[in-house]
Assembly symmetry: C2
Homo-oligomer: 109 residues x 2
DNA sequence: TTAATTAATCGTAATATTGCAATAAATAAA
DNA sequence: TTTATTTATTGCAATATTACGATTAATTAA
């Protein structure tokens, strides 16, 4: 009832779902877009650039960090966030492998 | 409060989020995995193969169909679902483009 | 030390998602 | 037509997510 039955799915299936969840909110996509743009990392400017409250942005950053997509370095009073390049590559490969799973020249219906 | 503020994000950001949402639940990933395996399409066997109620599977299929990842053909009393190859490619390209956005040789923190 | 700045956390409210039993709808078979 | 089969829909209940104000924690500057 309302709870995802993680145990009935394979590791791979749960992993894809977890990774996809990271990109499943436009605010998190926007955060990543901003991190792409400035290859030196931005910090709390994200709050100004994206129109969400500081608490909300912080929450989204935490989720991205938990999944391992970004990492944060404390610099004085502010925190510098940036893409975790190694993990990004790993995640990209996982998702790409999944998306490449389907032969694109078959149409059964 | 509690509502995603779609209007403050770009079209592209919202699209990525919408597409990612399709893959953000293991049941939907499992459904797609099953559709990959049998390149002739499966129908209600999904209910037996995945351990979820018929209503739940039907709901997930509907979501995948709404996003355009799969399509269904009525065949007698049953429905034959399969990957929408054209859309799959389009979705794959969109996500891949996003994932390729980040230069993997930069590490700012 | 005190004030200012910045980010994380807490508490709460609202909406979204997930799951299923029950039912409806549609087709096939008898 | 009646019955079986299969899928979609409806109507809940429970959990998850999103968002933000208020507060806390940590560091810097004065």
């Amino acid at each position: 009832m309302g709870v995802t039955k993680t145990e009935i799915f394979t590791e791979a299936q749960n992993e894809i779902a977890t990774l996809a969840k990271a990109f499943a909110h436009p605010a998190r996509v926007a955060i990543l877009h901003h991190l792409f743009k400035s290859n030196t990392c931005i910090c709390g400017d994200l709050v100004d650039e994206i129109g969400l409250a500081q608490a909300t942005i912080s929450q989204h950053l935490k989720e991205l960090k938990t999944i391992g997509i970004i990492k944060g370095n404390i610099e004085g009073t502010s925190v510098c966030y940036c893409i975790d390049t190694e993990n990004w590559t790993r995640i990209k490969n996982t998702i790409t492998a999944f998306l490449d799973n389907h032969p694109t020249n078959i149409n059964c219906c």
